[in-house]
Symmetry: C2
Subunit: 393 residues, 2 copies
């Protein structure tokens, strides 16, 4: 079987850029296309990742969601696809608040990067067009789709726009009869349901879609699925993450704001309406560390659809420290269940504190991508979660 | 996709019996055939597992390898297939010593059961023929192959006969144009190579083979493959198991003898030649606990073929306590590597001491079996290791 995999990255914010970076260290992965809001770079013999990353460092093409100082580009297919309102209309100068993204160990675009919040420079000259490999375009996603015959897999590292943005992008690939792999790193349960609704359409096109394939959901969902193998009944899955975000704090202010919505006494609306100084006061009050319990993460839906346990038996929480790059707590998955011979126990998966959120998002995202390409080449189409690329329960 | 899986078990020793037992607790798995040396039971609407287990309890049809008081049945396809010498010819009244089986956390037939050593009753009336569902036969494997059109998957839980026994059985399924799943729980590296040599033949037939799919290799190999996802370079994989074998000791005397071959100053020949009282003396000397380092387990080959690390970077060891059912040490997988951003760390997977070897062999074996059936139905054929049913590295 041909092991070489060509892939594209849609979105070159934090996750997209780091995926390109991590792929340089992995065997058999050739990035052949990347796009952002303003531009596209395509080279079927392999992009020059060094040049692309250097040219876009601190220079990410993004919408106006974080700083509001540039107009949306409604003509772009990033923002104007059949009712996908530009993010500006939702949030104006407020950070976005779309109900699911967090700074949790892994997952959402923006979690560990600058996709939508850390805009260092915006406008038509920002991002990929600043690279010698980049071309300006008003239809970056369509431009990648036009090249997709020669692309084995596409990592959707797009900003968190409307909830149905990723499913709609997937549909556009299906409309073009794409027969390859799509992977996203989102974590909102409702997006996964929207993808499930499109399973037939994606299958007909020959698409293998692995959804929620970052750290959590993703890496840790897979760990839970594996740890469950000792048991015939799973009582609980506890996912607990630690993230140190000192150097990444400026890039993740909007994400931290969304995390605040998960704190006791807060919700999305309240977090959205807080001023920057109110947020700083809250963070001060907590000494820079925010602890979260019972977060809305799609690990629950993804483990339930894999037959491992009920969604309600899954809990996700963690600690975010915005004043240290050290993890404030160790990222751990604990799966408690009962064996066939009636013993109750807890299997544990623990990530070293030295492994960064970026490592734990992008390694697994590319790992799931490569695994999905092998499936796709074998003719295995449809929508999978991370727990489906594992021994079954 | 149809989630219901019909399966057969070849061999109803420790692993075969427990696989049937564990399957009762799992959804979507219907056992439709089982065989041992003397008999076969087939019911395409589902075997009565309660009856089968009751009838064969302490009554396992086996060859003469452990007690030597019954003749081999050379006419059986268990023992006389193209040069597969009956085990008796190797060992006469000595326990077998075929160079790889151990009491380690999971894997070989005989590890956690009585497939070949714990013969409580032998002869033509033993085993499956004692069940109301059983029929005597001289060609049990061929009888199952004859029914295999209606069998999605076959768990090869056969005694450790010749090293190429499992590959030859696989070949017989291919000769019959079987298009389904085969899973084994062996752990000898050379068997995996022999299966790899037969990949084309198995693929042509439409067989998806997951080899080494017990605990180690198997469950713990998969855990290592997953834990590696944080890293771009894996420096070492350390698999460390604990097994408490007090109540299972009598059934596993031959297996313990083979473990002794892994001790410093011992090898297979020396262990084979030891008398029972010499073995007891050795065990006494160690207070009932034997500790093993650098065991020959196929985890190394299986991780290398999945691209995760070099075989030589994998170490397997553990502690066997024959005087307690409590585990003498916690079964742990430690994967040390370097992240894309240059950090070195160790991710850890740990099984609760309450999870028995039997739970950790049979849960994963059936989990890999189910996963393989989904692959097979999608048209994905060939030989896979446990690390291949995971995100790729």
């Amino acid at each position: 079987m041909d092991d070489d995999v060509t892939f594209a990255v849609l979105g070159t914010g934090g996750i997209g850029r780091r995926a390109l970076d991590v792929a340089r260290h992995k065997g058999g992965l050739t990035p052949v296309a990347a796009c952002d809001r303003n531009g596209v770079a395509v080279d079927h013999s392999g992009l020059d990742v060094d040049e692309l990353l250097d040219a876009t460092e601190g220079n990410i093409a993004s919408g106006p969601e974080a700083d509001g100082d540039t107009p949306a580009t409604p003509e772009s297919d990033y923002a104007s696809d059949g009712g996908l309102a530009s993010h500006a209309s939702e949030t104006s100068s407020e950070p976005r608040s779309d109900g699911g993204a967090t700074a949790a160990e892994g997952g959402s675009v923006g979690d560990d990067g600058t996709a939508s919040d850390g805009v260092k420079q915006a406008g038509e000259d920002a991002g990929i067009v600043a690279s010698a490999q980049g071309e300006p375009t008003e239809t970056p996603i369509d431009d990648v789709i036009a090249e997709s015959d020669a692309i084995d897999a596409v990592l959707l590292a797009l900003p968190n726009l409307e909830h149905d943005f990723i499913p709609r992008v997937a549909e556009r690939f299906a409309d073009a009869d794409y027969g390859g792999v799509l992977v996203d790193v989102l974590k909102r349960s409702r997006v996964i349901g929207m993808l499930d609704d499109r399973t037939d359409r994606l299958e007909d096109s020959g698409i293998t879609f692995v959804c929620g394939a970052g750290a959590t959901p993703g890496f840790l969902t897979g760990a839970a699925a594996l740890a469950a193998q000792s048991f015939v009944e799973v009582d609980s899955v506890e996912i607990w993450w630690g993230v140190g975000l000192k150097s990444g704090y400026e890039d993740n202010r909007g994400t931290v704001r969304e995390d605040i919505a998960h704190l006791d006494g807060y919700d999305i609306e309240r977090a959205r309406e807080m001023s920057e100084s109110e947020i700083e006061a809250l963070i001060d009050e907590h000494g820079g560390r925010l602890e979260f319990r019972d977060m809305e993460h799609a690990d629950d839906v993804l483990l339930e659809r894999a037959g491992i346990c009920d969604a309600e038996d899954v809990s996700v929480g963690g600690v975010l420290d915005v004043r240290s790059d050290e993890k404030p707590t160790t990222t751990t998955v604990r799966v408690t269940g009962t064996t066939f011979d009636g013993e109750r126990g807890t299997n544990t998966f623990e990530l070293d504190d030295a492994t960064s959120m970026a490592a734990n998002v992008n390694g697994p995202a590319l790992g799931y991508l490569k695994a999905a390409v092998l499936r796709n080449r074998a003719g295995d189409y449809g929508v999978y979660g991370p727990a489906d690329v594992m021994p079954s329960f």
